[in-house]
């Protein structure tokens, strides 16, 4: 039996963290027929779709099987500039949507810390952004999805039509089928500039208090924590919050072209970063500088979209700075009222002495019916950690703290959680499995992530 029935090249694939490479037949697909052919021809090792590969772990890998490269089908099919509804192919990126629609007065409804993700990936991971506390996650702005299921049929699903399949697909990590197209509700903006307030807080308590008391005043909100600050200063952070400026809030010289937008990658990290260059000393120096240079309190500063939303996108391939062994991102959420658990997680990560840059802390709003959708009301913390000795055991023990607090981990970031641990985090996992069994009884759609976690 051949390994795969396509003649696509078998290539090593990794996620953004550049860990655990596996080999798959990477198959470019341009239209529905390409996808259908690849799905129906799949070997016993199955199929999964891959977009811009910004998942940190193994979500878009499929060892020994087929991986569909969705980035070739990346057209905007229809746009209604009255309502802001756009119909797009799954491979279109949020970057492309911004390039096309910001100058026409529309922003993406939700953006993560990078705009280099596809719409298909945004739905599959049900991504969230700085506006989760007011706008929810990406799938809540999706009106319908065209999903190619294991039988080769294309089904148009929505919250009103096969809601079960829609909410298994939203956050379902590509395991219900291949997302071909979607309709996305864009957000109307008057200008491409954000009005940003910056606050510095000296420790975790004051940070959490500040966010709890005043987050509702802002559409977008996020805090960056210095993970290397210990003891009394643990959790010292810089909070940036804001909203899009109205036309009348722009300085006169910008009013002529209020929607001017230019998102671009300014520089790239070379692929020769030696291991160990980022050590406690260099990272601590960076974090100190970053904290000191932030204003203690600043109001109504005008910032561009890239500066406010996607500071890291200015540097192409920044994931290379962690060296050849790669890195993981630990992102977990715990419900409101479990602040002590979050403190313990942060405290133990700080004491472990990983040379981590900044951690991101944010308050989530209400969750949605997505069976594996990550956001739920509470605090979410995310930080990058280079692969190092002892990390596996540390993160396993932090998972226990998170479970005890009723929290969970984010599949789009995960590359190492244990299956038994994951089972305890998502109480709708069995519902998800039931939907998968209905639409994919043979288990055609699978991935390294699905195998690792026995999803």
């Amino acid at each position: 039996m051949p390994d795969t029935t396509t003649d696509a090249p078998r290539v090593p694939l990794v996620g953004w963290g550049r860990t655990a490479p596996t080999i798959a037949a990477l198959t470019p697909v341009h239209d529905d027929d390409d996808v259908r052919a690849a799905v129906l021809a799949a070997s016993g090792r199955g199929v999964v779709a891959r977009g811009l590969a910004r998942s940190y772990g193994d979500a878009a890998q499929n060892a020994g099987g087929t991986v569909l490269d969705m980035t070739a089908a990346a057209r905007v099919l229809h746009a209604d500039l009255e309502t802001g509804l756009v119909d797009v192919e799954a491979g279109v990126s949020l970057d492309e949507l911004m390039n096309q629609f910001v100058p026409q007065g529309f922003f993406v409804p939700v953006t993560p810390g990078t705009r280099l993700v596809t719409v298909g990936g945004a739905i599959a991971a049900d991504i969230h952004g700085k506006n989760h506390h007011v706008a929810g996650s990406f799938s809540q702005h999706v009106r319908w999805i065209d999903l190619l299921t294991a039988d080769g049929q294309v089904r148009r699903i929505s919250p009103g039509s096969d809601a079960e399949l829609f909410w298994a697909t939203a956050g379902g990590m590509g395991l219900t089928g291949v997302i071909l197209r979607a309709q996305v509700q864009m957000k109307a903006i008057e200008s491409s500039r954000c009005l940003v307030d910056t606050d510095r807080t000296e420790d975790l308590d004051s940070l959490m208090t500040l966010l709890t008391e005043t987050d509702h005043l802002y559409e977008y909100s996020v805090a960056w924590i210095d993970t290397l600050a210990k003891g009394r200063r643990m959790g010292r952070s810089v909070v940036t919050r804001g909203r899009f400026a109205r036309l009348d809030e722009l300085p006169a010289k910008r009013r002529a072209d209020p929607l001017k937008y230019h998102g671009s990658v300014k520089a790239s990290v070379p692929d020769v970063f030696p291991p160990g260059l980022l050590n406690l000393a260099t990272v601590a120096a960076f974090n100190e500088l970053w904290y000191r240079k932030a204003p203690k309190r600043k109001r109504d500063q005008l910032q561009s979209i890239p500066t406010f939303f996607h500071p890291l996108d200015a540097v192409g391939g920044w994931n290379r700075i962690y060296g050849p062994r790669g890195f993981v991102q630990y992102q977990v959420t715990v419900p409101f009222g479990q602040e002590e658990a979050m403190r313990e997680v942060l405290d133990r990560l700080s004491s472990f002495g990983t040379a981590s840059f900044l951690a991101v802390l944010k308050r989530f709003g209400p969750g949605n019916p997505g069976m594996l959708s990550y956001p739920s009301p509470g605090w979410t913390l995310a930080l990058d950690i280079p692969v190092m000795k002892g990390l596996a055991g540390l993160l396993d023990s932090l998972d226990e703290v998170v479970i005890a607090a009723g929290g969970r981990t984010y599949l789009a970031k995960d590359s190492r959680v244990r299956p038994e641990t994951f089972e305890k985090m998502y109480d709708r996992l069995d519902d998800f499995r039931a939907v998968r069994k209905r639409v994919d009884p043979e288990g055609v759609f699978t991935s390294d992530l699905a195998r690792r976690l026995a999803l």
């Binding site: 390994d3 078998r10 090593p12 963290g17 860990t19 655990a20 490479p21 596996t22 080999i23 798959a24 090792r45 772990g57 193994d58 499929n62 060892a63 020994g64 099987g65 062994r325 790669g326 993981v328 692969v387 990390l391 596996a392 055991g393 993160l395 396993d396 590359s415 190492r416 244990r418 299956p419 038994e420 390294d448 195998r451 690792r452």
Partner: protein, 251 residues
């Protein structure tokens, strides 16, 4: 799957009752539960080891394997793969043999070559085929410093390990780009049931130390590990020692 931090979900132990194989399983189980396939002859000890590893938190499957039976490797690997992907396979079976007997008895030499060289190469080929299809996996082969430069006191054993070592080192290179990697482990004298009743050699080590080196080697993506690490330099020295001198060394 082996995760981002090098923790596997399944472990196949070929020669599953060997002390090093058991120590490797225990080392992994100390971190996380995982699926363990014990491939070994149907002996009472196999049952005892299976129970021990279950008690330590493993999900244990038992599969028949006999290094003297030419058809055994294919059946064993297929049976091990039936329960899911094999993430890490440890080829840990082997015999030390009786040096005096091996000096004069051809049948004993043929038997040792079968168990220590022929069978491991067949198993290695079956495992490589399986893991190529999987698109991922790590094969760990237990070589020995004795293969680095065979000495008069146990050269038959040394020669089988030299052959095994050459096979797996070459296999490693042939698998580049397949998603599969090979870790060749070269321990010195290991205090175990294989060496019971023999006096310690210099730099003697333990099955636990070998297991630690295997787990760390897989985490770091190594292709060769020596246990203890200093053995590498000792053997490098011995390898370059003139024969006239080497022959007279009390080793």
């Amino acid at each position: 799957m082996i995760d981002a931090l090098g923790s596997p979900s399944s472990l196949l132990l070929v020669g599953g009752t060997s002390d090093i194989a058991v120590a490797t399983a225990r080392r992994y189980l100390a971190e996380r539960p995982l699926r363990i396939v014990l491939a070994a002859r149907d002996t009472p000890r196999r049952g005892v080891v299976a129970d021990e590893l279950k008690a330590a938190g493993g999900t244990v499957e038992v599969v028949d394997f006999d290094a003297d039976d030419a058809s055994s490797p294919a059946r064993m690997v297929a049976a091990a793969a039936a329960g899911g992907d094999v993430d890490v396979a440890v080829v840990a079976f082997g015999l030390l043999g009786d040096a005096d007997q091996l000096r004069t008895e051809p049948a004993a030499v043929a038997q040792l070559a079968q168990v220590n060289y022929v069978a491991p190469t067949v198993v290695g080929t079956e495992l490589a085929n399986l893991m190529r299809r999987q698109g991922h996996g790590v094969i760990v082969a237990l070589s020995s410093v004795a293969g680095e430069r065979p000495r008069a006191s146990n050269f038959v054993y040394g020669s089988t390990k030299a052959g095994l070592d050459a096979f797996y080192s070459g296999l490693a290179d042939s698998l580049v780009g397949s998603g599969v990697s090979v870790l060749v482990v070269r321990p010195g004298f290991v205090r175990s049931k294989m060496t019971e009743g023999i006096d310690d050699a210099p730099l003697a080590t333990t099955p636990e130390a070998v297991a630690e080196a295997i787990v760390a080697g897989i985490r770091k993506g190594r292709h060769t590990v020596w246990v203890p690490g200093a053995m590498r330099w000792v053997m490098s020295g011995l390898r370059h020692t003139p024969r006239a001198v080497f022959r007279k060394l009390p080793i």
